[in-house]
């Protein structure tokens, strides 16, 4: 039963998150380890994020330009492509890449620790692996994914501007058009999305790595199921947040929020 096992995974992850939140509230987080992990995980992914951001921005500018050409509304190119990228496509696509880079790296590392009995060695010493190994990694992945997503989203804007210059749209017109359509609420929404996607990547990858079993093949399986679960949860969360934003607009009767 694939659906049943998916539900039990989600339940396990919620309990896992609850444990970690409790530990954090008891001030058990080792912040210097978190900083170490942020360097390990975050700084090494910066190049990938920048490359992905440039291409995502360019792709969206190209697509929106194609669609607007049919209606002669090219004046809106800058605003529409930036707004679409910031609100949806950018966070989703960059979070896909980060779930491959950051999430799979974390789950592979934790899975290797688990199958080579390093976590059991920590338990044998009377310490909790949740506190010493998992908690710093979770916080590091949350913080670094959030920051990387924000950087990636900023780079998408540059990608759009560069591409607009390539296809012969004046980049000044393009930039002037951005604040007319990108509202404050769009930016707040994309920041909320970035944070939640970072949290999803952190919890899923740590959970999957922590529960890996069965030798080096088990690590591969853990990485694979971590990546799939990440993507599905990111897409569903993205839909729910968009839905919530649109419902808020309907409730408060604002033309654009």
């Amino acid at each position: 039963m694939p659906s049943l096992s998916f539900l039990s995974t989600v339940g396990g992850m919620i309990l896992f998150t609850w444990d970690c939140v409790l530990l954090t509230l008891q001030r058990k987080t080792k912040w210097h380890q978190v900083l170490d992990q942020i360097f390990q995980v975050g700084v090494r992914s910066l190049g990938l994020t920048v490359a992905a951001g440039l291409f995502v921005g360019a792709i969206m500018a190209l697509q929106i330009d194609l669609q607007l050409k049919d209606f002669g509304a090219e004046a809106f190119l800058g605003g529409l492509s930036t707004s679409t990228t910031l609100r949806n496509i950018g966070p989703v696509l960059i979070a896909f890449l980060l779930s491959g880079k950051v999430g799979a790296y974390t789950s592979a590392e934790l899975g290797t620790m688990e199958v080579t009995d390093q976590l059991n060695a920590i338990r044998l010493l009377g310490a909790s692996p949740l506190e010493y190994i998992i908690l710093p990694r979770i916080w590091a992945v949350v913080i670094s994914s959030f920051l990387l997503l924000i950087v990636g989203l900023m780079v998408t804007i540059f990608g759009g501007i560069i591409f607009a210059e390539v296809i012969g749209v004046n980049s000044l017109n393009y930039i002037q058009n951005i604040p007319r359509i990108v509202t404050v609420w769009s930016i707040v929404l994309s920041v909320i999305k970035s944070f939640l996607f970072g949290a999803i990547i952190a919890v899923v990858s740590c959970y999957k790595g922590y529960h890996a079993k069965g030798g080096s093949v088990g690590v591969g399986i853990a990485v694979q199921s971590c990546a799939v679960t990440n993507l599905i949860l990111i897409i569903i969360t993205d839909f729910l947040l968009s839905m919530a934003s649109s419902c808020l607009q309907d409730i408060f009767k604002v033309g654009y929020l």
Binding site: G47, L48, A51, A52, F55, V56, A58, I59, L62, Q63, L66, Q67, A73, G79, L80, S83, T84, R87, N88, I89, V92, L93, F96, L97, S99, G100, K101, A104, Y105, S107, A108, E109, T112, V115, T116, I167, I181, G215, S216, V217, V219, G220, I221, V223, Q224, A227, V228, N230, L231, I232, I235, I236, D238, F239, S242, M243, S246, Q249, G255, Y256
Partner: protein, 261 residues
């Protein structure tokens, strides 16, 4: 100092890209050899089609259904903001779906579904010296392992893209009827008026290209897997990351090639 570092990183990346490209060429060549000699590995290929394609259907349907719904909401927001009415939302969402998000998101999902698996499988075969055993039996690993996966993956990418496009557009019809008050007949009329045959053809070509990238990059990472216990996980990670980045770059290049030139 930073220039040497950058230069070394660039040379490594380019070298890896070229090696992957040569693996792609040798896979295609050995597939052609199989076809010419009529020594087609039918059982392996059918098994891989089942494992890579059929078993991914559920994930694709769930994910792309949500993408279709999400696109309707977002485009309704933007159309209301710019054009002050939302009669063109179905057309824009279907066009964006067919031209861009359908192939890309399907193949990114397929990457993490099968790319990590292929890399882990071939990597653990290398660690346990099964690849050497194959060579001892004078079986070419590319011929025996990569070609069936390559055919299976291209097949899976194309069929899953078509299925997920259908699901996404159908889900969009449902949400448009609920939220915008567009009747399904009106919705499909607009969609069929704006989505032309070349769009669908380009969509199929794109997904075939992306699907042919996935097993090659994964197999390359698996063949170059180290020998300690951390290596398999590392190979699986690298396979997912590289393939996702290659897919996004290939998408940009293909879209530019199809539409802008």
């Amino acid at each position: 100092m930073i220039m040497t570092w950058l230069g070394r990183a660039l040379i490594l990346k380019v070298g890896e890209f070229l090696a992957t490209f040569f693996l792609w060429i040798s896979t295609v060549l050995s597939m052609i050899k199989q076809l010419l000699k009529l020594k087609f590995r039918a059982r392996e290929t059918l098994l891989q089609m089942y494992l890579l394609g059929v078993q991914s259907v559920l994930i694709m349907v769930v994910a792309m259904g949500f993408v279709g719904l999400m696109l309707i909401i977002e485009l309704a927001f933007h159309m209301n903001l710019v054009l002050k009415h939302d009669s063109l939302v179905p057309a824009f969402s279907a066009l964006l779906m067919v031209r861009e998000l359908g192939p890309v998101i399907t193949c990114l999902l397929l990457t993490s579904r099968i790319g990590a698996g292929i890399a882990a499988e071939i990597g653990s075969m290398k660690i346990s010296e099964q690849l050497d055993a194959l060579k001892m039996l004078s079986i070419d690993p590319i011929d025996y392992l990569v070609v069936p996966r390559w055919i299976g993956s291209v097949f899976a990418a194309v069929t899953l893209t078509v299925i997920s496009l259908a699901i996404a557009i159908w889900g969009g019809a449902f949400l448009a009827a609920q939220k915008l008050g567009t009747s399904p007949g009106e919705y499909f009329n607009t969609v069929f008026f704006f989505v032309k045959f070349p769009d669908l053809a380009h969509c199929i070509v794109k997904s075939a290209v992306f699907g042919s990238l996935i097993p090659i990059v994964a197999a390359y990472q698996g063949f170059n897997c180290g020998s300690d216990s951390a290596a398999v996980g590392e190979a699986a990670t690298q396979a997912v990351v590289r393939t996702s980045l290659y897919i996004i770059i290939a998408d940009f290049l293909l879209t530019y090639l199809f539409y802008a030139i």
